[in-house]
Symmetry: C2
Subunit: 162 residues, 2 copies
Amino acid sequence: MKPLNAIRLEPIGVVQTKASLDDLKHGTATSKIVIKKEFSKGLDGIGGFSHLFVLFWMHKTSASEKMILKVHPRHRLYLPKQGVFATRTQFRPNSIGLTVVKLVRRAGNTLTVKGLDAYEGTPVLDLKPYDPWDRLGKIHVPAWWKKLEKEKERNESASHIG
Amino acid sequence: MKPLNAIRLEPIGVVQTKASLDDLKHGTATSKIVIKKEFSKGLDGIGGFSHLFVLFWMHKTSASEKMILKVHPRHRLYLPKQGVFATRTQFRPNSIGLTVVKLVRRAGNTLTVKGLDAYEGTPVLDLKPYDPWDRLGKIHVPAWWKKLEKEKERNESASHIG
């Protein structure tokens, strides 16, 4: 496998949000994604989709955190550690975050979205439309995941922060 | 916005597949993802999920293709060009591919998956479990997307190649 050390990711934009950590965690945050002017044309037609995948660079993750390979799901110590690829933790070798958001509005190079669990100032790497093929029928998830689901109250959606 | 030129992506593994281009396109390919031994522990528990997001580096995209900002959806010239962020085209500033796959089996550091539209030798950047929050209820997509959907026959799922 050839090394990809030469790969440079270029942020296409940045997250602007004043949402509380609680709102970020619970998928109730409203945020703006401001796309660089040079990429603005790439947004044409995006308003036809109600939901998007946002890929972002989790810039607050430290080098040592990227080395972690097993975590307690959402920091719940009573749950056995799982491999990072079996969770959505921010600790992973490549700090790419992935979240499905609702697209509220596009105005020029600014998108208003709901449900993004990314901090103010987070570099955005890519946007992709969510389409019916992404909406699976029958799926299954492990018992620990269901346990965490039961813990949640009233939150209409969830996030991968904390 | 600070430049991220120093970001280095490290492949966590590689795609191995003998599937035909047709199978890749139609979501019917069976592929292996071989994870580097050093990251193998990160897979622990992944078998509890039936489906995964695979993030991969579309290494065949050229520098000039990355500059493209509008494309005819899936090369259909009769459809008006859309911004690349409104499509799943491989032409985009950061060549990160995203596909939902069915996890067939984990054996050591090798995953067998179904539905991955990535070529043999594609570097894999991340794996994330698909969970019920990723399965949206009501969504909408533009008219051109529905037109393409009607074109498809018999394919149980779809891909973002060609």
